[in-house]
Amino acid sequence: MNLITEVCAGGVRGGTSILYAALGETIAERAGVIYLGTEGSMLTGALAAYAVTASTGSPWVGLVAGAVAGALLALVHAVVVLWRGANQLATGFVVLFLGLGLTSLFGAAYVGREITAFQAYAIPGLSKIPFVGEVLFHHDPLTYLSYLVAPAMWWLLYRSRLGLRVRGAGERPEVLRAYGHSPTLVRYLAVVAAGLLAGVGGAQLSTAYTNQWFENMTAGRGFIAVALVIFAAWHPLRAVGGAYLFGAALALSPALQARGIGLNQFVLDALPYVVTLLALVVLGRRRANAAPDGLAQVFDMTPAR
């Protein structure tokens, strides 16, 4: 497989976890809540999936566990922010810390332990297409699932009544209230959904992409997902391209190393974060105006407590 194909394929597979987290974050932010603890939900999801897979032997059961774990952590965030009114950015960050601590506390037993992970399946027929086949159709089931989740998310947000309520909670909560719905309830559900999807992303990371668990294995992917949502202008389908781009940036280093091409390893390691920053810079100004109104408040008027 040549370098380009390998990097693109790696981009898809490696970007899937970021994509899940970004899709989840999109829902939350559309409802007007920013969940900076996405990284924590990914971590707890990754550990829960890995641990349950190790105990039960089935990565699918692990997947469920991962989703639940991510959702539970997000629930903590939702309660502190929505019920107690705490600063969203600070709370998200503390929730991340909670996730870090919990996963290190309960994860030590699973470092270096082998599991029956998700296997990669080539989809018959489609995988034979030159280039596209290798890039898109030689992956694990969770990646294939993400191909469906992203358009489903688009449909949910823009074509369904639930999506209307979500967007209403973020843009015109008073209108939502006038129609008898509770913006707060919608926000709770949105944040929990964000955590759930981030948990799935974490599960993909540990049981499909790397097949291992170690402390802090997400290495900032959750933050990249949060940034991704911004310069995808809160649109689920645009998040797909961004996620794969960063997946490719993450996949570049091992691909080059495997070929003996000696670019500085740390330059490559820093590349995804630099690319994210650059994307934010280039696309940021235009995109910032596309923010849901409720979110703009969080960003511009972070109060000093």
Binding site: R84, F93, A219, V267, L277, L280, V281, R305
Partner: protein, 363 residues
């Protein structure tokens, strides 16, 4: 917003009104919140470790015992010194309404710049000159790193919470890149690191044979300086107005952009100082993992303290003690040191959740 929009009131009135309401909101953590947090968190954490099969009572007993030996108490103070600076690095921007989660990266860059200057000069110039240069380099490096994020916020509206976070990772890779190649200590073994600094570049100790260095003086001075700046200077007042009500500040004619920039630069400089003090007082070289999450714990310190300088000092000592207790966890109770983050996070969550007086109604 439910109450009359700020835009409909004359600017001067809004500013005058901003002052008392600021005092309400900046009144810090109510005592009840503190008590609940400090009492409830250990119980919750104890429950978690009990699930892991560790007896929480003996764990806490071990933690307390480990903290009361003089050597350990000294280490707590040394760590608290760095945490105070890291906490102030978050507190100053927070007063202006900015969220600086880039302490970790700013500490690293500060340590790198200080180390660079130290490596160049420690065998050529007298100690005091070297140290002063390193202090300046560390502060400048940290300020620069924070300034990047501030610049991004002011020019292209990139929220500093995200940009500083991303810069943390980049800073870490920058340091690793330096350690692994151009600055690599050829005579080192095990973990790659930079060459250990000569005595001229090390922070002097209070008494030989002990570990406490004059970083303590630097930290005390920093606390005093920030307190004085916040309470007694025009700049500090303006910063607080911007933090409480940026729209009112803008209407009153304050240069909000410049104030935000200056707040981030000061915060970054403090974090850079933290990096310099840690490197030149304890580590004496750059190595992977040297920052021990000081940046992130500094964030927790500042929020725990309600961003008030004197309380930052107290919170820093508390969290330094808890962090040290994390080491005891590893040695005595067999739990990973990082699990102490659970305790810290729970304390913070309770504090954050209890600090709810006088909030504006959510739309």
């Amino acid at each position: 917003m439910s109450e009359t929009s700020v835009l409909e009131r004359p600017a001067a009135e809004a500013v005058a009104e901003a002052k008392p309401s600021l005092r309400d909101r900046l009144a810090g953590v109510p005592w009840l919140g503190w008590v609940v947090a400090v009492a409830g968190a250990p119980i919750i954490f104890g429950a978690f470790v009990a699930v892991k099969g560790v007896n929480p009572i003996t764990m806490y007993a071990d933690m307390l015992a480990s903290l009361t030996t003089p050597a350990q108490a000294e280490t707590v103070i040394i760590r608290a010194v760095v945490l105070v600076l890291a906490g102030l690095a978050v507190a100053v921007p927070a007063r202006a309404g900015l969220l600086n989660v880039g302490g970790e990266g700013q500490i690293v860059i500060g340590a790198v710049c200080a180390a660079g200057v130290g490596l160049l000069t420690d065998q050529r110039l007298p100690g005091i000159v070297v140290l002063v240069l390193m202090l300046l380099a560390g502060a400048a490096g940290g300020a620069l790193w924070a300034g990047l994020a501030a610049g991004l916020r002011l020019t292209v509206k990139v929220n500093e919470a995200i940009s500083t976070l991303l810069l943390n990772f980049i800073a870490l890779d920058l340091m690793l890149g330096l350690i692994y190649d151009p600055w690599k200590d050829a005579s080192g073994f095990g973990q790659p690191s930079s060459r250990p600094l000569a005595d001229a570049a090390r922070l002097p100790l209070f008494t030989t044979g002990h570990k406490l260095n004059i970083g303590l003086v630097i930290a005390v001075l920093a606390v005093a300086a920030v307190w004085w700046a916040m309470k007694k200077t025009e700049w500090g007042f303006r910063l607080r107005v911007v933090g409480g009500n940026p729209e009112a500040a803008r209407q009153a004619g304050m240069r909000v952009g410049l104030l935000l920039l200056s707040a981030m630069l000061v915060g970054g400089a403090l974090a850079g100082l933290a990096g310099m003090v840690h490197m030149s007082g304890t580590e004496f070289k750059l190595r992977p993992g040297m920052t021990l999450n000081f940046g992130y714990i500094g964030f927790l310190v500042s929020w725990l303290a309600g961003h008030r300088p004197l309380r930052v000092a107290a919170a820093a000592v508390l969290l330094a003690a808890i962090a040290m207790a994390g080491d005891s966890l590893q040695i005595n109770s067999g739990l990973p040191a990082a699990s102490v983050n659970v305790l810290m996070a729970v304390v913070l969550l309770v504090v954050l959740g209890s600090n709810v007086r006088a909030r504006k109604a959510k739309p």
